[in-house]
């Protein structure tokens, strides 16, 4: 954990885990979707469900979906802003056995009808962890430029992806592999040290066997 995760962030109160972390969670989900959602179904678990209303967790997640930063003064009135922006929002409690106490499931739909489900937890001090995307396990913070690649589980794909990254001089910080079953659907989560170019991301998404390549860069957010 970097010292600026301890000291900071500068944020709108009242809670770093329940307000700032929640805002960041919404913002990461929005960036993973790639555009502003027209519909958001938010499920809150544990302490998020029990105390989220008083902490403004619900308003903070919606503010994040509107791409507002955790120190944006408009966070308290995000429901109104969402309505004005034509975003339909519903919020429900959920019980997720074994999940981190500050966990939310965010189900999004964009204007083209694309959907995305993100499970994320707020770890304290405004930091978050994405636990799953579209029900496939993952584990990343969104603090580094991150690639999420969905591909068929077959030999050679990891090598092709790392070759493209190496050709573009992109250094891999961490790499995780998940799959639903042998030969099924797999997910690669790659955190890089530097920003990746659109050309690189495009090249990766056209690799044989790659179904979808999402690039998340929250730098400056």
């Amino acid at each position: 954990m970097n010292i600026f995760d301890i000291m900071g962030p500068i944020m709108v109160g009242p809670s770093s885990s329940h307000t700032a972390g929640a805002a960041r969670m919404g913002r990461v989900a929005r960036h993973l979707l790639g555009s502003q959602p027209v519909k958001a179904v938010i499920q809150l678990h544990g302490s998020f469900a029990d105390t989220g209303k008083g902490h403004g967790t619900d308003r903070a997640i919606v503010a994040g979906l509107l791409d507002l930063a955790p120190d944006h003064p408009d966070i308290p009135r995000s429901f109104q802003l969402a309505q004005e922006a034509g975003m339909e929002v519903s919020i429900h409690p959920v019980d997720l056995p074994g999940a981190h106490p500050n966990t939310a499931l965010i189900h999004l739909t964009d204007a083209q009808g694309h959907t995305l489900s993100v499970s994320a937890s707020s770890l304290g001090g405004g930091r978050i962890r994405v636990n799953a995307i579209d029900e496939m396990e993952a584990s990343f913070s969104g603090e580094l430029p991150t690639l999420i690649i969905r591909n068929q589980d077959r030999p050679g794909i990891v090598s092709q992806v790392s070759q493209v990254l190496s050709e573009h001089q992109a250094n891999i910080a961490t790499m995780q592999l998940y799959r639903d079953r042998r030969g099924g659907l797999a997910v690669m989560v790659i955190e890089c040290d530097n920003h990746l170019s659109p050309a690189l991301v495009d090249e990766l998404s056209h690799l044989d066997g790659v179904e979808k390549c999402t690039y998340l860069n929250m730098e400056g957010c």
Binding site: I3, F4, V12, G13
Partner: protein, 287 residues
């Protein structure tokens, strides 16, 4: 790379001051220049000052539970604690209330505990005319100790109770105060250890689940505790249990706390008849 132990933190500060060791580690960790790291920390210091100075005594939180107390404390003559500690107490209340009112604050290490660092540093800075440079150094010291606490234990009330929030802030602030007075790295560790020892087991029991009762006033306790522990360390008083072991004990205690006492708003003060009555009042739809 992040400091994993206070012992390591101290061993890195034999040739260079502790605050500088933390800064250099940040530069390496994020691949940035020293000036860039320093100016980012300076921005945080400025935001802390703003969170105190933009306090509005008329402002109330949405629940109506917080607001106006900082000004009330400041307005009293002849406090038991004396004028300097009065300012510390008032500053802690002001930032705590500003946070509860959805104002802009610096999480240090969390929003609920955001009053502790400015409460101990700003009155000292203003009464002794300390430089911004010194204040920023203090924040590095606090961040270094905070990093160890976050790594070995937790800075989240939902995970470790209030000891992880106000407790961590108090330990960090105690170490920072030792630096402000030119104390040694070992004294910083003793100050941090003593401050943490004093709050071990502190539960997170927010009434109605809001970061208001008892959170705002616990910032006062965290700040006053930090002052006392820094003074003890500077006087040569030591903690019998080394700082790392105190932090490990804090982690164990946090894991042992039942969920009702970890920010769920279901135990402690939140479960008292008065606490429940406030929660019920809050649950009523607005007229």
């Amino acid at each position: 790379m992040a400091f994993q132990s206070v012992e390591h933190l101290i061993s890195c500060s034999t040739q260079t001051p502790l605050w500088k060791a933390v800064l250099l580690d940040d530069c390496q960790d994020r691949d940035v220049k020293e000036e860039e790291s320093f100016s980012r920390m300076e921005t945080l210091w400025q935001a802390m000052v703003d969170s105190v100075d933009s306090y509005d005594p008329q402002r109330r939180s949405a629940s109506g539970l917080s607001g106006g107390q900082g000004a009330k404390m400041e307005g009293v003559e002849h406090t038991l604690c004396g004028p300097f500690m009065q300012q510390v107490i008032a500053t802690a209340l002001k930032v705590g209330e500003h946070n509860a009112c959805m104002g802009r604050i610096v999480a240090a290490p969390t929003a609920g505990a955001s009053g502790v660092m400015p409460a101990v540093l700003l009155p000292l800075c203003r009464s002794e005319g300390l430089s911004t440079q010194t204040m920023v150094e203090c924040l590095y010291v606090a961040a270094g100790f905070g990093q160890v606490i976050a790594t070995r234990a937790s800075i989240s009330g939902a995970e470790g109770g209030c000891q992880a929030e106000i407790g961590s802030a108090s330990g960090m602030a105690a170490a920072a105060l030792v630096h402000a007075r030119g104390g040694s790295a070992e004294q910083m560790a003793h100050a941090c250890a003593m401050a943490l020892q004093n709050v071990l087991g502190l539960v997170c029991d927010p009434v109605a689940g809001l970061v208001e009762v008892p959170c705002v006033k616990r910032n006062v306790m965290g700040a006053v505790n930090a002052m006392a522990c820094a003074d003890m360390a500077l006087a040569g008083i030591t903690a019998a249990i080394p700082c790392d072991q105190v932090i490990d004990a804090m982690a164990t205690v946090g894991r042992t706390l039942p969920s009702a006492l970890r920010e769920t708003g279901k135990g402690g003060l939140a479960a008292t008849p008065a606490g429940r009555a406030i929660a019920q009042q809050q649950a009523k739809p607005a007229p």
